[in-house]
């Protein structure tokens, strides 16, 4: 019972998209019409850690927290790429993860988009040139949106996801 008393006391903690997130709201609004046609405001994400330091993962976990609550946009994480519409790839692609990343991409049914999260995913960051690293994510699979930052904030990731959805209709013919 103490649990429910606490739930009641704390109340809703999800932050409404504040003035600072105007851009997100705008993007969200703009995207909604197009994305709805294809994904119908329901986006399933499969997260792929292609060799990140897990900094980005910590921020991605934040997306699901009560504060950011990505679920309110219909964005949720799934366990299998077969269920996914969007791949969220983090980290520079290591040699061990090159083929798994490719396989994950192949396993995801169309239409699908790829969002590469973090500086490493775009430039390999401090791991650039390492013997263990193959390259950036777009060297392996086509990437729709890069989200910069080391690590990027959850709000940035959310913005990236929404932007990627915006690109969906363009890529439809390419499947």
């Amino acid at each position: 019972m103490r649990l429910f008393a606490k739930i009641l006391k704390v109340g809703l903690v999800t932050e409404p998209l504040g003035p600072g997130d105007d851009a997100v709201v705008r993007v969200a609004r703009a995207v909604e019409a197009k994305a709805r046609k294809l994904l119908g405001r329901a986006v399933a994400i499969r997260e792929v850690d292609a060799g990140s330091c897990n900094g980005c993962e910590v921020e991605i976990t934040g997306l699901m927290s009560p504060v950011y609550d990505s679920e309110r946009f219909g964005i949720h994480f799934v366990a299998s790429p077969r269920h996914a519409d969007l791949l969220l790839v983090t980290g520079p692609v290591t040699r061990n993860m090159e083929i798994p990343l490719l396989k994950t991409y192949e396993a995801t049914p169309d239409p699908k988009v790829v969002v590469a999260v973090g500086d490493c995913a775009q430039t390999c960051g401090v791991f650039r040139g390492s013997y263990a690293v193959v390259g950036s994510v777009d060297a392996i699979i086509p990437v729709d949106v890069f989200v910069g930052g080391c690590p990027p904030e959850p709000a940035d990731i959310l913005r990236g996801i929404l932007t990627a959805l915006d690109r969906l209709p363009v890529r439809k013919g390419r499947a």
Partner: protein, 313 residues
Amino acid sequence: MTGFLLEAAQVLLALALAPGLVGLIRWMKARLQNRRGAPVRQPYLELRKLFRKEVVLSTNASWIFRAAPFVVFASTVAVGFLVPLLAVPLPFDEVGDLLVVVYLLLLGTFFLALAGLDPGSAFGGMGSSREMTVAALAEPTLAVAIFALALGAGSTNLGQIVGRTMADPLAAVSPGHLLAFAALFIVMLAETGRLPVDNPATHLELTMIHEAMVLEYSGRYLALIEWAAALKLLIFFALLGNLFVPWGVAATLTPTALSLAVGALLVKLVVLAAAVAIFETRVAKLRLFRVPELLSASFVLALLAVTSSFLLR
């Protein structure tokens, strides 16, 4: 003729409400986690999206994998025709009784478990194995709870069970009835893959039961399976609601009685959804090997239900 129209209307209503029910539970749970949560209509959007996506099919899979979603969906919908949601007696009441309902659902589970094994992935096999374990262990409770219900009505026929409780309101608060309700509630949690038996929201393959079996499905097949799962939840809720608290179920086919029945059904579904949401917020998932303890507890409840019905007759 009106009877058959009613059947069709009932199944369409069930199909239409089922995703909303899942959405409602998710929304309530989100609120209990102090989140804003997805709107109740979210599962509809997800289903629509899945129907529009392509299917990626494992090259190892056989026709079983492709047939299973249809069998699962069809058997669950068939059950929707047999369970009295709005009115008794249904014209299809004679096609199947409570045992047929249980075994039709088992037919779906059987095919889904085979489909889990079909692509040869270890996750699928693990899911099938666990699902069948839970299903097998839930079976005695179901049967004995049916026995308890049949004892009162003198039949396993669903219409008669509902009619009998309606005719004798005191029976609804008899110990046999209450114990059987508790037993069936636990079995419902197990059969529909809710906490504490299975976590429908898990991302970790090793903790999965139902989700692990469908890990390989995508697109329209996945949509069928998800929809059937939602429908199964709704059917179990309706069974719990209408067999034990039958008031509101229309005994005549007048518009007033039917609209009242729809209202009563909605209220029952919302109450049960709230109960499940609160329960799921409160408990943690059990280890797989603790699940039998839960199920044997439910079995003892069912057995007590039968004995008390016997003795208090």
